[in-house]
Symmetry: C2
Subunit: 445 residues, 2 copies
């Protein structure tokens, strides 16, 4: 089997891969979010990683997007998914007759972008999406439900989040009222920079676009509006006369009512929230870690008018939310949020001798059946080196199974953290480890 020419083992650049204990933590993070989705009656979907290019690139009119991994096999032109939304649209369009609406689905999966890797950007990363899709219509309650769901994800992770909410109809309505719809993108680009450039510069840039000083001042005031719902309605009263603007304001007020009913407590309104995606048409929101908003948004979402426009004539409005789990995990790791030292796949190491191996295996099996993560150090090594290994691997308990122990059925349980040790029956060993565990988690509270 041995080759004379060895290949250097390498991982592709920009592809995320965690070491086992980090992976344990990350998997637990995903599990917690998934449980929130389930508890809120969202159903799972697991679409293929590959799709027809025609399907995935429908949005871009079939042109190859450079960021997409696209290739052919035989006569099939296919792409790796770059998000979970287009596959959802494809699925809903295919199965709209069989599904119940509103269709509430979640998907946690990897997506692929061939862009140049850079700090905090990956070519393969997880998306963690939940969306509610309506058939022709969708109540505004769904918007509030997505914001509530987003909040719950972070609560499940014990993280304080602040959710900034807006409604794109408000700013779109204002732009309509000053007859500048054709310059919407340019205007939004300036508004997006408001926090970074001086007021005068913003005014000048808006003037260049064709806004009067009066209009510019107003739109800047509008964009800078933040606070609770009363602050917003007060600040924007009489700012313009426009049906779309009014609709946006009405939706915002109604959403606020629903959010309160859902018991959401982390929302602040902020009219500067736009969200990059062009497809958002109503409610938009972004979440930040309260203790450090400078880290940037760690997720968000919003309402879109029509999920399946490329596949169907039927209007399918939706609203969704997404937690940026890869980024979030990176941030939390850097902030030492996870105590990696306390994470161990082994709770109790079983140490045996030549003649007691089978007894040790049997005990291992029994401990596992009782919910204790026990592992027998069965490699043929000395007692001393096994103890050293248990210590190095920071395993909390060692159960020593010597010849005496086999005779008396009392085994030596050693707590490696405080060096305490006692001889116990199997039942007592289980009891002891479980009691300690409970005390530990009480102490954490």
């Amino acid at each position: 089997m041995n080759n004379s020419k060895l290949i250097t083992p390498r991982k592709l650049q920009g592809f995320w891969e965690l070491m086992p204990r980090q992976q344990m933590v990350f998997s637990e993070l995903l599990d917690k979010i998934e449980n929130v989705f389930k508890q809120n009656c969202f159903v799972p979907l697991d679409t293929p990683v590959l799709e027809y290019s025609e399907t995935l690139l429908a949005k871009s009119g079939g042109e190859t997007d450079k960021e997409v991994y696209r290739f052919s096999k035989g006569s099939t032109d296919m792409c790796m998914r770059y998000d979970l939304t287009v596959p959802l649209a494809r699925f809903v369009a295919m199965h709209k007759e069989e599904l119940s609406f509103p269709f509430k689905r979640y998907q946690i999966g990897k997506v692929y972008r061939g862009e140049r890797p850079q700090k905090g950007r990956f070519r393969e990363f997880y998306q963690c999406d939940a969306d509610i899709i309506g058939n022709e219509t969708l109540s505004l309650v769904a918007d509030a439900e997505c914001v509530a769901l987003f909040e719950k994800c972070f609560k499940a992770l014990n993280l304080d989040v602040e959710i900034e909410v807006s409604n794109r109809k408000i700013i779109a309505g204002f732009i309509q009222s000053i007859n500048k719809e054709d310059r919407t993108t340019d205007i939004l680009i300036v508004l997006d920079k408001l926090a970074k450039i001086p007021f005068e510069e913003a005014m000048a840039q808006l003037k260049e676009i064709g806004l009067s000083d009066f209009e510019s001042e107003k739109i800047i005031r509008l964009t800078k509006t933040t606070g609770n719902i009363e602050d917003v309605t007060q600040n924007l009263a009489n700012i313009c006369v426009n049906p779309l603007f009014n609709e946006g304001m009405k939706e915002l007020v109604e959403t606020d009512k629903h959010l309160k009913a859902f018991g959401v407590s982390s929302v602040i309104y902020n009219l500067s929230v736009i969200r990059g995606h062009n497809y958002y048409t109503g409610t938009v929101f972004e979440g930040f870690l309260k203790k450090d908003k400078n880290l940037g948004a760690i997720g968000g979402g919003g309402r879109f008018e029509n999920l399946c426009s490329y596949f169907s004539d039927k209007k399918m409005p939706g609203v969704g939310m997404s937690v940026g789990v890869t980024r979030l995990f990176d941030i939390l790791t850097k902030e030492n949020y996870f105590n990696l030292d306390e994470i161990n796949e082994i709770e109790c190491a079983i140490i045996t001798f030549d003649d007691t191996l089978e007894e040790g295996l049997s005990l291992t099996s029994k401990l596992r059946e009782d919910g204790i993560k026990a592992d027998c150090l069965y490699e043929n090594k000395s007692f001393k080196s096994k103890m050293k290994e248990a210590n190095k691997r920071q395993i909390k308990y060692v159960l020593i199974v010597g010849e005496d122990e086999v005779k008396t059925k009392e085994y030596t349980l050693k707590n490696m953290q405080n060096s305490g040790q006692e001889k116990l029956t199997l039942e007592k060993v289980i009891e002891k480890i479980k009691t300690d565990r409970m005390c530990m988690s009480d102490a954490e509270k």
Copy 2:
């Protein structure tokens, strides 16, 4: 947004995709297996779907395997993984200095094979692997641990499994004893057909390969050996004199001892078990559903001499197991093992009226916090059509929140299965649903 040219939504052929309730069942199946892995101190790994072609095709000497999805982006030649073993080898070779050995890892993930789709074969499917890798050496206990783990996976799914175990050294040793090592593959091909072709035909084919009748009879007897460990040792006593054969027999006996210590009860020895993979060198095993062995193996595993031979001079022996989850799920679905009617993402539907929506949302939120999968039917529809929907979706409970109910804080809980209904406070609603749930699961036992 509307396009005049609509694209027909299509899924790639041969790619698995489940409807939501099926997906709920499948995800639960994976969760149960994952819990077994965790309980047995295996750590998770989540390698990228893409790897350098050089890495993935190391085995085949860099030649393109037609079954592999291979493509280039920029100057990078890459492949989608076709199994989880080569990525494991790459990972272990890259990180061998940081890992603790034996390294026990599991990975549940999708793999890709571009072959023509056929019944029961997919181009994208899940593999569900657990392996134990040693550094230079690995105790035979690891082999028993993998078999025990395999059994536990099926126990967790409430499935009776029969595990056929053999050791490849036995047959390899026999072939060595008759000096036919160079014809090993040809011999194994004949032996693999033993169950399907008449004895005389097998004899004739073995003769063609160059075996004497005496040798052929012996190897057929060897291959047909099944039973417990005593049956095997008795049947194969004095069948040949060869060190490799003896080693295989010794390993089998020792493995049996360890299996008993682990409490494994589903093992039967069967010397015809070979497993297709060329890399297995010692213990091999295959699992079957007891109630219908004809469905074929639903997983298995074995010992390999050197995981990382293409990447490292260091010998890294290993032993692994794999559950064929995609196939297993397909079989169980066809056998109506899962009661899809009893699976529902919604446990209790909340029905409100115009003026009671906010109260309904608030109740929904409280029920969810208490662990009840409650969902408010908030689309603007009549009471009657909401009841109809709850019925159609087979939701067990409906909580009616009318104006009276809001005043008295006693809500109408209707059991849609027996049409019973009563007015209850929120606390009583929660109590009632949870009590019923417990009775249900008791009834299942």
